[in-house]
Each structure stands twice: as C-alpha cells, then as structure tokens.
C-alpha cells in the first residue's frame, strides 16, 4: 500500500507548528542566555503566540479533516484555539514581571507554557481519540512540571506531586475507557462510535467505556467528587500557572468533553444525562459551601472554579446541540474573569510573601484604589452581576436549562450563585469597608499586571453589554455538531 504524506495540509496546522517550533527554539536559546535576561524568552513567547493567533484567525474559515481524519480544522476548534492563545498571551504578559519577581532561574518556564498550549490546541481540534489522548498528555505533562518549577518551594513541590499522581490516575481511566470503546466498536474515531450506537448496538462494555472516559474528563475539569486535587494544586502552584490551569486546562478539557459527548454519545444521553445532572448539583453545592469558609484567596478561587464547572455542566446535561453555544460563551467569559482575578492576586504579593489570606485585602481601597477596583470588577463578574460578562454567561446557561425543561436544575444553579455571592462579596466588603489589619507594604504596580487587568476588564464589560457578537461566534462554533 502506498500512502503519501499530505504535505499540502501542513499549512493548515501552521499555528501548531509555530508553537512547537518556538518551544524548541526557546529551549535552545535559553542555554546560551545569561541568567538575568529571561524576559527576552517571554517576548519571544509573545511573538510566537501572537503569530499563531494570526494564523488561527486566517484559517478560521476552513472546515476540513486533515491527516487521514486524525486531525481536523473546524469552527469549534478555531474559536477554542483563539481563546487559548489569547489566554496564553495574557498569562505570558503577567509572567514577564512575575517570573522576575520570584527569581525563577529555570528557563523552561516559557517553553513549557508553549508546549502545554500546543497540547490544548491539539486536544480541541481532533475527532480521533488517539490524537485527543496525545494532546491531553502533552498538556498535562507540561503542567505537572510547571506546577513544581519553583524548586525550593515546599508547597509547590507538594502540589506538583499531588497533581501528577492524580492526573496520571485520571489519564489511566481515560485510556482504559478508550480501550473498551475500541473493543466494542473497533473504531477510534468519534464519528465511528455514532454509527455503531445509531445501529442500536450498545453493549455493557461500551457503556462502561463511556463512563470511564467521562471520569477522565471530570478529573481534568474538576467536578466533585473528582476535584480533590484542585484546591491544593491551585494553592501550591505559582499563581501565573494557577491562572493558566484555571482558564486554559478547564476550557480545553471542557470543549473536548463537549465535542466527544455531543458528537458521539448523544443518543446515549439517557445513560449519562442523569448522572451528570447529579454531578452538576453536587459540584455546585459542595464547592460553593466549602468556598464559604476559605481564608486563602487562591483556595477560594479554586473552589469557585469548581463551582463554575458545575454551572457549565448545567447546560451540558441538557444535550441540546443548538443551545450548547452557552457553554462556549461561559468558557470565554470564565477565562477572562479568572485570569484577571489571579493577576490581582499576583499583584498583592511579593517574593516570599504572597499575602494570600483575605485579611491582607482589608482596607485595600484606601491604599490602592486601582487594585481594589480591578479585583472588584472580576469578583462581581464571577458573582454574575450585570452588566459584566459573568452575568450574561450565567443567564445563557440557566436559560438553556429552562428551555430544555431542566427547571429544577436551573433553580438549584441560581440558588447556588446566591450562596456564591457571599464569598465573593465578602472580599469586596473587606476591601472597601474594613480597616487594614496588617501591613502589606508597597505593591508592585508593574505595567505587565495592569495591562492584563485592563484587557480583562475591557473584555468583560464589552461582552457583558454587547454579548451578541460573541454569542454568534459561539453559535457558529457549535454548528459543528449538526
């Protein structure tokens, strides 16, 4: 058999090639650099992410399968890739100063960010489980290292170990699920599953396979009861990496989860719908109740990110293809809220003293009104207060549930966001109405943090007031399911 490598398709994966090439190049350059000039690597990372973003935008009108169906280019993938790259750019901008402040000597920081982003991009743009698995592992392995990159930090090391063990455990579930699916259908392509299931051929092995794959994804997007790693890892990891994980990993994993389940397993919704319904309720309720008692802001934001996964799951369980655009909208809004919030958390700290407890925020508005203002916007958006994007996102998700007949789920969701308002508003209350209880010293108002905060604020207000454009984009993205 003569198989020719489709060279002409290489141009269609230009963004991925750029990221991979730059990642390798940066590793090489790093060896020859003096230890002090790491920001040069950051600038190069920005250049590569920017040019990859340009290519993603240029290629966004294409919709085709590449490399014998192992890879594909479509609107869902393009939108998510764009989102991930924008998120990478924001994280790199804030890292420029953060890495300098924390005196990270290892130059692997930026290349690993690039490789991890590459993994996410591979993962969201494939219809083949083999490619999805490779992308997921590339993403995860890079992040295991990034979490523990601050070598002398005990907490970071512990977080890295926990994330590694539980992440590897989860991917074992995923692989075994894929193996069972392959065994019962003989296919690795998610369209192939649809054909088998449409024939009414649903063996127990297939159902178990689907369940195991769902467990694998549930670990990555941190649904209760698969969330144990999340608060610990988010707290222990360097804050820029926490932002990267909270925004990037969750979006990429959720989109892949959506693609796999909405393309292949929608006829089986009777089997998984109820279980995910229950998971959504447990996730929202448990995460919000636990977040109430957190004193550490990174931990609080970690529980809040678990709760947000629960809200997104509310729209997910409905199984309505056309309404799943609300999931995409939520993920975009969620990304900007979280990156912004974590950039404020970074702002508050110094080397060796991160000021993560909520007491540090008391009386912040008098001393640093700008920081207090930014954080307030992000927390209000996380709460879901109009006119910010977080409100529209919640509105779309809950209206999806109501339109699809899941009224009770929507009610539980709304009640949960009321509970959540307590712990978000508590921080705002501390900042504006409390007297300072401890001296946090001068804040490093570096342009790199301010830029990130301002971009996020602009985006949140813009898409909150004019949600139509983003919603149309999201609807275009989910049109791949038809």
């Amino acid at each position: 058999m003569d198989v020719k490598f489709p060279v002409d398709e290489l141009i269609l994966i230009a963004p991925e090639i750029i990221l991979c090439g730059f990642g390798l190049l940066l590793l090489l350059i790093e060896v020859f650099l003096k230890t002090k000039s790491k920001s040069f690597l950051g600038i190069l990372t920005l250049v590569s992410a920017g040019s990859a973003l340009v290519f993603v935008l240029k290629l966004s009108s294409f919709s085709t399968d590449l490399f014998f169906g192992l890879y594909s280019l479509d609107s869902l993938g393009s939108l998510t890739k764009g989102l991930i790259l924008v998120m990478l750019i924001l994280v790199v901008i804030m890292s420029l100063r953060y890495v300098e402040r924390e005196e990270v000597i290892s130059g692997e920081y930026y290349p690993l960010l690039l490789f991890s982003t590459l993994g996410m991009m591979i993962m969201v743009s494939s219809k083949n489980l083999l490619t999805i698995f490779v992308g997921l592992e590339l993403m995860s392995l890079s992040i295991y290292i990034l979490v523990g990159l601050f070598r002398d930090n005990l907490k970071a090391a512990e977080a890295s170990l926990k994330y590694f063990l539980l992440g590897a455990f989860a991917s074992a579930f995923l692989v075994y699920g894929i193996a069972l699916l392959y065994g019962s259908t003989g296919s690795l392509d998610i369209k192939g599953y649809l054909e088998v299931i449409a024939k009414g051929d649903t063996s127990t092995v297939l159902i178990i396979g689907v369940a195991l794959i769902a467990v694998g994804f549930a670990f990555k997007i941190a649904l209760v009861p698969f969330h144990m790693w999340t608060p610990d890892v988010y707290e222990g990891a360097p804050t820029s990496i926490t932002a990267f994980m909270a925004a990037g990993v969750k979006s990429a994993a959720f989109v892949t989860f959506l693609r796999v389940f909405y393309t292949a397993f929608l006829p089986l919704i009777k089997q998984w719908g109820d279980i995910l319904w229950l998971l959504a309720v447990i996730t929202m309720s448990y995460a919000n109740l636990t977040a109430l008692v957190q004193q550490n802001i990174k931990r609080m934001l970690a529980y809040s990110s678990i709760a947000h996964a629960g809200y997104i799951l509310v729209a997910f369980v409905t199984g309505e293809k056309i309404l799943s655009s609300s999931i995409i909208y939520y993920l975009v809004a969620y990304t900007f809220m979280n990156v912004g919030a974590f950039s404020c958390v970074i702002l508050m700290g110094r080397k060796g003293e991160e000021n993560l407890d909520i007491d540090s925020y008391a009386g912040l508005s008098a001393r640093h009104p700008f920081v207090a203002f930014c954080l307030t916007i992000f927390l209000l958006s996380l709460t879901g207060v109009p006119p910010l994007a977080g409100f529209m996102a919640k509105f779309y998700v809950f209206s999806t549930a109501i339109k699809a007949g899941y009224v009770w789920l929507a009610i539980i969701g709304v009640l949960n966001s009321v509970v959540a308002a307590y712990y978000y508003l508590r921080v705002i209350m501390y900042m504006y109405f409390r007297d300072p209880v401890k001296e946090i010293g001068r804040i490093d108002l570096s342009p790199s943090y301010i830029l990130v905060s301002l971009i996020c604020i602009f985006f949140l207000i813009y898409t909150g007031i004019l949600p139509r454009e983003l919603m149309l984009l999201a609807e275009g993205a989910v049109s791949v399911f038809f």
Partner: protein, 102 residues
C-alpha cells in the same frame, strides 16, 4: 490450538486495572502508587491488543505504542518530581504531603 477469547482477555485486563486502581488508593509510598498507575495503563494496553484480535485493525496496536511512549514520558516527569520531593522533605510518602489542606 486454544481458541482466542476476547472476553477472557478483557476480564484479565479488568482485573489488572482494578488491582492498579485499588493500589493507587491504598498504597502510601509515592513510587508504588506510580507503579500501580503503570499497571492500569498496561491493563489498557492488554485490552487494546486483545481488541485488535477481533477487529483486525491496526489502530489498537498503534494506540499501544502511544500509551507506552506517554507512560515513559510520565515516568520521566514523575521520577523527577519524586526526586525533588525527596530532596526537600526526605520522604515520598503521600501521607506526609499535608502542607496544603483546608
């Protein structure tokens, strides 16, 4: 010649997978936990290879190569993390990883 039975191989792989999963939950030594994860991955490999027997396709076998490669990369990263932890704490028992909680 003994007839090839997919179901028996599947049962064996399920048993291996369960042993691995139980080991991850019950064992306290980090490296043994990691070995149990490898056992789970190998159970998946066995399921893939035996499935290729009935489907006559190559995809399953190719997947096994990918799983092995990923497992090797995971081992490299994992052992590096264990070394780092051991240097900092003098132990790799997962029970003593209790700085982060709440």
């Amino acid at each position: 010649m003994v007839e090839f039975s997919y179901n028996l191989y599947l049962l064996l792989s399920a048993i291996l997978f369960t042993i691995g999963a139980v080991g991850v939950i019950t064992r306290r030594n980090g490296i043994i936990v990691f070995m149990c994860i490898e056992l789970m991955l190998n159970a998946a490999n066995l399921a893939f290879i035996s499935a290729t027997g009935i489907h006559k396709g190559l995809e399953g076998m190719i997947f096994v190569f990918f799983v092995m490669t990923v497992a090797a990369a995971e081992a490299a990263v994992g052992l590096a993390i264990f070394v780092m932890i051991f240097r900092l704490r003098g132990t790799i028992s997962v029970d003593q990883m209790n700085l982060l909680k709440g």
